[in-house]
């Protein structure tokens, strides 16, 4: 069941809201858990074992850590000798760290088992074949359990937060399960920390009229992005990324642009739906997109695109690696050898960023294309850091600054090229295809518009016009959001005159009803990130 399906919007969601409101405040989270299970059951109830296992590991690891903290406190309090106190602390540090590492390893093994087993087997088979061994290990072909990539990160975050004492462990297993299987976020994120949603999720605040109203408006807005724009572009994207041998370099460029737009509309649209739905229950989720195409470099792009994944990687990978012994040793070495400061910073950044981008790539899926996508951004960001002083020097010579509007536009456009090039390896089905597409892009320019080739990609002129008109609507909204930093349109619209609100809802509803791609003759297009 997708968030953009009619059955979700007019049957499942109202039923969930009504049951939630009818229950006593204390037990409202139970209603959420029940509807999480119903939502999950649409993908097969047997696979609920995975969130159940992940929830169990998360819950018990949290409890065990709390127990060890309490024991440590008790023993330290009882001990008077300072040296012994230190020893106790050290011994408990080892114990808690072991609990954290073992529980995280269990969660990682769980996801490796279902998501990456076939990837490893394929690579072993491929190496064996190259070495002249024809024996093939059969693939396991597991069906990916819904949301495993998202709740695994949330679970790891929860355990580390308990270990860091940012939060206290939850003592109610059902609450932990409600958190990791929360039906609005399980399919596409955003990846939320326990601390961010705990209060809203379990306080059982009643349904508020304005929240439901503005939540539905945001749900409709997300549906419009998905059903009117993203799915409309899908046939062209599918064609261009499948018929790679038939395309020229200009078509490859168009493929990259069209897929980027489609992915943004698909993913940000589904996040609009998710945030809107959660808001109806009074649960505030973090924004996952902050107008990413206004970013002026790759680092900023990743602060605006899939924000919560970026925050997770920064919190649980980048910072720990930056503080690790390896980085500290290198910093000490650089200081002793009086290495150039810029060089030292580059090496420290490289050590900290490489695991971030490898995990980013791998998280998207078990494929060399995704790993390459992660490495691509690692290289781009490193190059940006390396050449930053040179850029400053050039701007100084030109007697201008980065804030100059012309410079800003050039930087934004340069960043678009970086994004589009990255999306080729992200979308293409294998590395061979990626190599062919990049080669064509750089060496085989060709005609696309003057000969009408773009009309042979599975969508016609009117489809392009409709997509463009609605993209302009999204662009206008994004510009408004950029100018009113921090403010949400779905909140602002509740302050507008009623007739404007009614007109907005009617416009969105009728647009989806008539121009949306659904019903007989249309194959439901999967949400892109639901497959990760």
């Amino acid at each position: 069941m997708y968030y953009f399906s009619l059955i979700f919007a007019v049957l499942f969601l109202p039923a969930a809201l009504i049951v939630y409101q009818l229950l006593p405040q204390k037990y409202r989270y139970i209603a959420l858990l029940v509807f999480n299970v119903i939502f999950f059951s649409y993908t097969g109830m047997r696979r609920f074992i995975y969130p159940l296992l992940a929830g169990g590991i998360t819950f018990f690891a949290g409890l065990l850590l709390e127990y060890l903290f309490a024991k440590q406190k008790e023993k330290v309090k009882a001990e008077e000798d300072k040296e012994n106190k230190k020893k106790i602390k050290k011994s408990y540090l080892i114990k808690t760290r072991t609990v954290m590492i073992v529980s995280i390893a269990a969660l990682v093994l769980l996801i490796l088992h279902v998501k990456y087993t076939d990837f490893f087997i394929e690579n072993i088979n491929s190496i064996a074949q190259k070495m002249g061994n024809d024996h093939r290990i059969p693939l396991k072909e597991f069906v990916l359990p819904l949301g495993i990539s998202f709740y695994t990160l949330q679970s790891i975050g929860y355990i580390v937060d308990v270990y860091w004492r940012k939060i206290t462990a939850e003592k109610n297993f059902l609450k932990v399960l409600t958190y990791i299987t929360f039906f609005p976020t399980i399919m596409e994120g955003p990846i939320v920390s326990f601390l961010e949603v705990k209060e809203d999720l379990f306080s059982g605040k009643g349904i508020v009229f304005d929240n439901v109203y503005s939540g539905y408006i945001r749900l409709l807005y997300g549906c419009m992005k998905k059903l009117v724009i993203a799915d409309r572009l899908n046939p062209a994207v599918k064609y261009l990324f499948t018929e790679i041998g038939e395309t020229n370099g200009t078509e490859v460029a168009c493929a990259a642009v069209l897929f980027t737009v489609m992915e943004y509309m698909d993913f940000s649209g589904s996040i609009d739906m998710v945030i809107g739905v959660a808001k109806m229950f009074g649960i505030k989720l973090p924004e996952n997109f902050k107008q990413p195409f206004f970013a002026k470099n790759a680092t900023e792009f990743w602060r605006r695109w899939h924000v919560t994944l970026g925050v997770w990687l920064k919190t649980y990978i980048f910072y720990p690696v930056s503080m690790s012994g390896l980085v500290r040793k290198f910093s000490k070495f650089a200081k002793e050898k009086k290495l150039n400061n810029h060089f030292k910073n580059m090496v420290v950044s490289a050590i900290s960023l490489l695991p971030v981008w490898l995990i980013n790539g791998l998280w998207h899926g078990p494929s060399w294309t995704y790993i390459s996508y992660g490495i691509y951004y690692f290289i781009v960001i490193m190059l940006e850091l390396i050449f930053e002083p040179l850029g400053d020097l050039i701007l100084e010579k030109l007697k201008t600054t980065r804030e100059n509007p012309v410079v800003t536009v050039i930087r934004v456009l340069k960043n678009w090229i970086v994004i589009f090039l990255g999306e080729i390896v992200f979308r293409v089905s294998n590395m061979f295809g990626a190599v062919v597409m990049y080669r064509k892009f750089f060496t085989e320019p060709g005609r696309v518009f003057s000969n009408g080739a773009f009309l042979n990609w599975g969508i016609n002129g009117v489809d392009y016009v409709i997509a463009l008109i609605f993209l302009l609507v999204v662009l206008a909204v994004d510009i408004w959001k950029e100018k009113n930093k921090g403010e949400l349109l779905s909140d602002r619209i509740m302050l507008c005159p009623a007739y404007l609100r009614v007109a907005a809802v009617l416009f969105l509803a009728v647009s989806i009803l008539i121009l949306g791609l659904y019903g007989p003759g249309f194959l439901e297009v999967d949400l892109i990130y639901a497959n990760f």
Binding site: S5, L6, Y213, V462, V502, V510, L513, I514, G519, P520
Partner: protein, 298 residues
């Protein structure tokens, strides 16, 4: 308080406007009102064709999913029996969808016999066999029946000249399919006592079809089309249980392959899923001979 009151008024006005828009658009986008020279949806081609037939000129209706589409050579059936038959199979049809198709057609035609192809009923494909999935399909059928704009909204493309639509059928729902892709899987009706699970909601809508036929004095015959790829004894058992419980005549053509003369090397167009023109001819011959024996047609 005043603010709250005005919000409620606003939401009532909004809901009324939304409902009015959906009703108005449903009126505009229904194939009956659009009356286009082509069909809007490929899946609905035969339904969109039958509604253009003159009233009360059809007395035998074949309903079901794609298996129903290739079941009977309706022009020959009419020639041999004098009974005007029409096949309105819809690929992937649910039983709920078939119920509404039947109801809508009987408003225009005086139907005396319904031949119901059973694949949509006994389908135990994992994607369709749970009550949850059936709820989705029923919900879709109900919504599209109440508000045709959900089913026919893409008609604007035909009106705008962006889509040519699909040709209407003038052969009473029959199309000669001559492709031959043999089935080589061997015997498929293997003995078993097992019974396919049929979701309760699907049974609920089948009961509605049965009740509707009885109420309107329409004879009902269940037929399982020959399908080496899709049919099996478990499905046969499930249909048999239902037909026996409801006293409905049932012909499983898969159990009668030899009698009908189906040759899976020449009589299928897609490796055993559907029969081709050769197979349809044999099935039609058999039904012409057999129907008067199993059913007392008015």
């Amino acid at each position: 308080m005043e603010n709250k009151k005005s919000k409620y008024i606003e939401i009532i006005i909004l809901l009324l406007l939304l409902a009015a828009s959906v009703c108005f658009l449903s009126h505009i986008f229904s194939p009956e009102n659009l009356n286009l020279p082509v069909a809007i949806n490929e899946k609905d081609r035969y339904y969109e064709s039958i509604i253009r037939e003159p009233e009360n000129t059809i007395d035998t209706l074949i309903i079901g999913n794609s298996e129903a589409v290739t079941l009977v050579d309706t022009p020959r059936f009419e020639k041999e029996t004098g009974r005007s038959a029409y096949s309105v199979g819809k690929a992937g049809s649910s039983v709920a969808d078939a119920y509404y198709t039947l109801r809508d057609i009987t408003k225009m035609q005086d139907i005396k016999l319904v031949i119901l192809e059973t694949d949509m009923f006994a389908d135990d494909n994992i994607d369709y066999s749970s009550n949850r999935e059936e709820l989705k399909r029923v919900f879709t059928a109900e919504t599209e029946h109440l508000f045709p704009v959900f089913r026919y909204h893409s008609a604007w493309k035909i009106l705008a000249g962006q889509n040519e639509g699909y040709p209407l059928n003038s052969e009473r729902g029959y199309e000669e399919r001559t492709d031959i892709v043999p089935y080589t899987g061997g015997e498929y009706m293997l003995p078993t006592e097992e019974v396919s699970y049929i979701p309760k909601l699907r049974v609920f809508y089948m009961n509605k079809i049965v009740k509707f036929c009885r109420k309107n004095d329409i004879d009902l015959l269940f037929v399982s089309a020959p399908s080496a790829l899709l049919f099996n004894t478990k499905k046969h058992n499930a249909v048999s249980v239902y037909t026996e419980e409801n006293n409905i005549p049932y012909l499983d053509l898969n159990s009668l392959n030899d009698e009908i003369g189906i040759d899976w090397t020449t009589d299928t167009m897609d490796g055993g899923d559907h029969v081709n023109a050769n197979g349809t001819e044999k099935v039609t011959d058999y039904l012409i001979k057999c129907i008067p024996e199993v059913i007392s047609i008015k």
